[in-house]
């Protein structure tokens, strides 16, 4: 495996050259959204400047080009997540859009009163609230896999949580709040053995690992483009073909129909059945370019690099007086996200002080209030690392935290 040339990578991300509050920007908030490399920006630009037209309908040259670019991105993404059939990839607005699609198009027809949906305490709100809405409409019940004091799933009781009423197990691949890497394969195998379907929230997982949806044992896999070098407003749902075929459309409109009569219509084949209206064509093109970019660098090299920075960060933070890091102690169970608190300095205050030195982190509940409750806190400071971060970035973080200590003493 080749090593990642981080200097070259950094040079391709124009935002990283920004100066913030008099210091070169250190961007440690990629778990919220990643920065975008030049090839992605160029692809977006080229689409708008040269190819802009609506897809799947025009006979003219530009429409052909736009369609080719849009469907090419789908193919690229399908290959990247190990899907054998590009028709299994539905473009959505993001992970949230993908999960809501499943909750509506699959959930409303397949979940009944008394059925159970099994979630985990680690979930992002986007993998909780859609199921609460579904449960309210169907009378289904939500159950949760608990976590231990390192923020890892407690799987001892899983066989009790999985009952004959469990219709779906929905869990994140990687926790955005703590960085915990969940044993998705194991949970999925046990869930499927119990007759439940498995939805994997890959919003963070697709960023920090090589994804193979079949190997994971997923029935549904949701991801967001903007966390993996792509634009905002684009993401995807992958699902097994027979599931997608069996599901009713979620939204009606153009693009998703076969024929329209006065009282009823028939649907276009998948994936178009789930893509009503003019899609986010440029977004898809940008996401395709992001996948191409990441593939060329190699996910293994990226993950290896992130691990090095993560290890260095955990060591650096451990040496700062008053810092408490949350999440798994073992590097093997962790992704490039570090959540921490520091004495009685509130995470927002930590973030303001770091920002004054050009270091961008996230502070708050990270859309994971169940996780915060578990640890009896309301917020953490979170530094998240990606392919363009370096050990020098970690040094700037640690230096910034010394300023926090000076002020909060």
């Amino acid at each position: 495996m080749h090593r990642l040339d981080v200097g070259r990578v950094r040079a391709e991300f124009p935002t990283l050259a920004e100066t913030v509050n008099g210091r070169p920007l250190v961007y440690l908030d990629s778990a919220a959204t990643s920065q975008k490399p030049q090839p992605v920006l160029d692809a977006l630009d080229a689409y708008w400047v040269h190819d802009n037209a609506n897809v799947h309908r025009g006979i003219h040259e530009l429409s052909r080009r736009a369609t080719e670019a849009y469907e090419g991105a789908r193919l690229e993404l399908a290959r990247w997540i190990g899907a054998s059939d590009a028709a299994e990839v539905v473009f959505t607005t993001g992970t949230t859009g993908a999960i809501n699609l499943v909750a509506h198009a699959w959930g409303l027809d397949n979940v009944r009163e008394g059925d159970e949906i099994l979630l985990t305490v680690l979930e992002h709100h986007s993998n909780i609230v859609p199921w609460q809405l579904l449960a309210r409409r169907t009378g289904a019940r939500l159950r949760y896999i608990e976590i231990d004091d390192q923020g890892r799933l407690i799987l001892d009781g899983l066989d009790h949580l999985l009952t004959e009423r469990t219709r779906l197990v929905a869990l994140g691949q990687v926790s955005n709040a703590l960085g915990t890497v969940n044993p998705v394969k194991e949970v999925a195998a046990r869930a499927r053995a119990a007759g439940a379907l498995v939805l994997v929230d890959g919003a963070q997982g697709a960023v920090h690992s090589r994804v193979d949806v079949h190997e994971l044992g997923a029935d549904f896999y949701a991801l967001s483009g903007h966390k993996m070098c792509g634009p905002t407003g684009i993401g995807a749902l992958w699902a097994r073909r027979e599931l997608l075929d069996s599901m009713s459309p979620w939204q009606g409109g153009g693009e998703m129909i076969h024929t329209v009569e006065r009282d009823m219509s028939s649907w276009a084949p998948v994936p178009h059945k789930f893509e009503a209206g003019t899609p986010n064509i440029a977004g898809a093109v940008g996401l395709g370019a992001a996948v191409e970019y990441l593939s060329a660098l190699g996910m293994d090299a990226i993950v290896e690099h992130e691990r090095d920075v993560l290890r260095y960060a955990l060591e650096g933070l451990a040496a700062v007086t008053g810092v408490r890091v949350y999440g798994p102690e073992s590097l093997d169970e962790r992704s490039a996200v570090v959540s921490f608190t520091m004495g009685d300095a509130h995470p927002h205050d930590i973030s303001t002080i770091l920002d004054s030195q050009g270091v961008a982190i996230r502070a708050g509940h990270h859309c994971a209030q169940l996780v915060m409750k578990h640890f009896g806190i309301s917020a953490t400071a979170r530094a998240s690392f990606y392919l363009y971060n370096t050990r020098a970035d970690v040094d700037r973080l640690v230096e910034g935290l010394e300023a926090v200590r000076t002020i909060f003493g």
């Binding site: 509130h346 004054s356 209030q369």
Partner: protein, 150 residues
Amino acid sequence: METPPLNSLYQQLILEHYRNPRNRGELPDGTVEVHMRNPVCGDEIRLQLRLHDDHIAEARFVGHGCSISQASVSMMTTLLKGRSLDEAESLASRFTQMMHGDAEASRDPSMGDLRALAGVSKFPVRIKCALLGFDALQEALKRSAKGAEP
């Protein structure tokens, strides 16, 4: 935009109120109670007032959040005791003016310790933190005025 020096934000008085909040705790015989939450950051304040005629006889709060939100509400409660509802309302609007950069408001002696928060106006993303307690106060005043209507 350049962020101004941090010492304009983190004044000692703010950290002192953050660590030793005044009037923190339950008010068992409160007459009006407002729960305010900033959903973006999770900061929370439950403000309780005991009203006597049109005066605030007692003000207490419980809550959690950043130094700015908690110090602000602590400072606010020290100024409310004995004030009329109208005076409390003008304190709230005076403070809002200060958050919008009104230098005169930041020199107004009637603002007491709250003047230490003047620097927050230079940190736009933190103004909401400083206003959380006053949002609760204004809601409490609104409810009290409604309750007083015949």
